[in-house]
Symmetry: C2
Subunit: 525 residues, 2 copies
């Protein structure tokens, strides 16, 4: 595979700096035969300016044109061959079948946003027509619709080299909203990023998009200048709490603060309820272990906390879970940094006097070994930080509570989460249904009898939640509502039809649903 390793700025390639950064084989640690030009401060500036210059042109395109662009990106992604899959696999140690699946998810995500653009409700069109005879003052014609906020900086995730990276959910949502993107390539899969960026550029050229609609920079430490750049108007990020919070703080301290949508840290509590344990404790233990170790536990939605009420069934479940977890093989992580971080997380759990190790071989070597811990409930009740922070990898912590009242207290002590899961039979739902309002306050997605590691890309998905799961609980980074993060409303007062944007014209030329004088309709005004 031929890679140039240069930054993507305004549709051209640029490698002005001396410094090179490298990609590695995640399995062997071997350096791959590609080098990438660390973006210079001038190149970061150029990339942000290119997005800024493109913005008025790109956002003025009909939404249907942007939809064609997204569809074209999807087609380019689908056209990748096996060499691409094996490259991604090599950079991330993720198996080929997973990469192929993730590619489908990524192209489907693009197509779903294209549908949103064609459906047109993202405009949020609202029309209040004039009431000239109103007393004491006439009402003039007022119309509102949404437009893109401006250039968006996107930081991809280590763990989803496709679906949360270069052409991932944040990029798709921003491009759909009419916002040009500057993507910071993740250091863990820069070769992958280059292939995908090429695909986006090909799609942009084929569909006649303005130059600068998608830009990409390589390098470490270049993100700070990007987030601080005046042209950038919003940020999408998926990664660690530390990294995400640092970006939030930078964005908030700008002369003009901008919103940051950071998806960061979640322990994704799973509540295993009594009747479910009675009827299928062994099955739940198996399913849960699978969810914990799948993909080497490297999912934002990995179940890192399992809570149950003291009972013989819970003890039996724990014993099963321990025995299953003990049998799970070691796996290669995304990169050595991830492994180091996993080792550090495990060490902290081992070192805590309120936590005991239930299963798992001593962590050693260059692979991650699955682990099961049990923490005393007091850690949750007292808000111990250790149980609030995600240990990224194939480990989970079980907590036994005395009764339902203590379960509620423990849940109230939790920080914000991406997900909260109930494993429950109908009898459990009767007895514990009143937990749901507590879970609603804590998480963005509530599951029943499922496991949080699958994140469906659809209209109803929320991949978000209260801090520190994300930096803004009002957003989602998966599903079509993600576009809302990058839109702002504009109101037109007393504008003639000819001067109004398409979604607001009298005749409703786009045929979209609009709120007209308080009634939703597709009719002309």
């Amino acid at each position: 595979m031929q890679l140039l390793g240069k930054n993507y700025i305004a549709g051209a390639r640029s490698g002005e700096g001396e410094r090179r950064v490298y990609s590695y084989d995640a399995g062997t640690g071997e350096q791959l035969p590609y080098d990438f030009c660390q973006a210079t401060p001038g190149e970061v500036d150029d990339a942000a300016r290119a997005a800024g210059a493109c913005y008025p042109v790109y956002r003025a395109l009909p939404a249907a044109r942007r939809a064609d662009f997204l569809d074209a990106i999807a087609n380019e992604l689908d056209a990748f061959g096996d060499d691409f899959i094996s490259l991604v696999s090599r950079e991330t140690a993720l198996p080929a079948v997973r990469i192929a699946g993730e590619r489908g998810r990524t192209s489907n995500q693009m197509r779903l946003f294209a549908k949103v653009l064609r459906r047109g409700d993202f405009y949020g069109a609202r029309i209040d027509t004039a009431i000239l005879d109103r007393k004491p003052m006439p009402r003039v014609d007022m119309r509102q619709c949404k437009m893109g906020v401006g250039p968006v900086a996107v930081f991809g995730a280590s763990n989803f080299p496709l679906a949360f990276s270069t052409a991932g959910g944040d990029t798709a949502a921003a491009l759909a909203a009419g916002c040009p993107v500057v993507f910071k390539a993740h250091s863990g899969h820069m070769a992958t990023a280059e292939c995908v960026a090429d695909a986006i550029i090909r799609a942009a050229e084929k569909t006649g998009m303005p130059k600068g609609v998608f830009n990409m920079i390589y390098g470490s430490g270049v993100g700070e200048a990007l987030v601080k750049h005046p042209a950038i108007q919003a940020v999408g990020f998926t990664g660690s709490l530390k990294g995400g919070r640092a970006l939030c703080d930078m964005a908030a301290a700008r002369p003009q603060p901008i919103p940051v949508f950071a998806e960061m840290s979640s322990v994704n509590p799973v509540l295993v309820l009594p009747e479910a344990l009675k009827q299928r404790g062994e099955l739940v233990a198996n399913e849960l272990a699978t969810s914990v170790v799948t993909g080497c536990g490297q999912f934002c939605t990995n179940p890192g906390l399992v809570v149950g009420i003291r009972s013989p069934e819970f003890s039996a479940f724990l014993a099963s879970l321990a025995s299953i977890m003990a049998d799970q093989p070691a796996q290669t992580m995304l990169n050595t940094g991830t492994l180091k971080s996993y080792e550090k997380g495990l060490a902290a759990l081992h070192a805590h006097s309120g936590i005991k190790h239930l299963a798992g071989q001593a962590q050693a070597g260059n692979q991650a070994r699955p682990q099961l811990f049990q923490a005393d409930v007091s850690l949750l009740l007292d808000g111990d930080k250790l149980l609030q922070e995600e240990v990224f990898g194939p480990a989970t912590v079980v907590v036994e509570v005395a009764d339902k009242a203590q379960l509620v207290q423990a849940l109230l002590g939790l920080h914000g989460q991406l997900t909260a899961t109930l494993i429950a039979e109908p009898a459990d739902i009767n007895a514990f249904g009143d937990l749901v309002p507590v879970l609603e306050q804590k998480a963005g997605r509530l599951l029943l009898n499922g496991y949080p590691t699958g994140v469906e890309v659809c209209d109803a998905m929320v991949h978000g939640g209260p801090y520190p799961a994300t930096s803004d609980a009002r957003g989602t980074s998966v599903g079509t509502l993600a576009i809302d993060r990058f839109l702002r409303p504009v109101c037109y007062q007393n504008y003639p039809d000819g001067l109004l944007p398409e979604p607001l014209k009298d005749a409703n030329p786009l045929g979209i649903r609009r709120l007209v004088n308080g009634e939703m309709t597709t009719d002309a005004v």
Copy 2:
């Protein structure tokens, strides 16, 4: 009028501290015979906790119950007698007719949000039903709707003692969203705040709302503790850039950052275009002067910047405007702080070598004298701070540009605005219609042949805009979209009908519009 002057906490009154703060007659500066208990740190904590304790109960109420509460508040406001009007007038120096009008606006605003609650689209209900035979993986049932984010701290505005204060737009939007409120009474109209808080509490009692749904604290410097309180989940603010930015910075630095919706500073550019000046320059000068001096210029949307292209007509317009402005009488401002700030703003304009004074008597005495200035276009082109900052009061600055190209450059140099106005004839629209995309980037509301000082409360209104007009261009603080600021989405995966919230149940018991499998419908699932 009998006032207790105590803080409102969980439906009761509390005055634990020693310190008292006072209200003044805005016209005479005389202290009014009421004293108000500065909230102690303990009382601030109690108020925030009361809102926090109320939140799960209040948000669980059917939206129709919250609508009844808002309607009841509206009725209480409408029932106020002339003594109330004269009290507000005394505290703010705003004329009785304006206060009466503002009261109607405030109660109508409550009723409009009640309608939103009954209409139900604020839920944003989305349903993706299960596809059990999908390959390679089945899709499980996913449903999403929005709920209130949690307790909201609201800071009222000096200039709208009713519509942007105790029972104003932010309070209405938060209460509609299901969020209990802690309101910080504005020091400029604490007696008014007490009357309105009593009205809200009466309405809460009549409609059976849980205690703590509305709390209010008095005092200076108590806002910081409120914004930093862990129970508070969002902030609404209307006021100065300095004050709003300070709250934003505090909120961003919390262990758990929270969103702040601050409506701050806007100079509301008005572009007077050539053909309009030719046909009705004198009329425009009159209308514009009226917009500048109405309410002593104390509107967020006051036109503080007037831009036109050099021509004999523009010179004639300027001469008219100067002569009209010179004739405008002095007016009493909201309070002495506002007058001081106006004097300071004028002094800065007078002191700048690029700005000349065109009309207005020398500022002196205890009333504000209307003023007209002209600034050299270089100040806009070079981004001089002075032209970007609102001078709150009856003053405006005119800028003459050489031609259309310079007009565009001047506009691009502007910071974010609440409004941008075109005064234009059809011929102007033909010649200058391509300014609209520039204005869209700069402002939340674009007006044609109107003046920005009237802000209609309706579905289509946007009272927002890029920084520093507001802290978050994605929000509006007037109109029904304001509710969105205080809502977040929650997703339910594989939940049985009995466990789902009303808006998501199969039968659609609320009869609301929902996005079901990509189609908007009111049908049952």
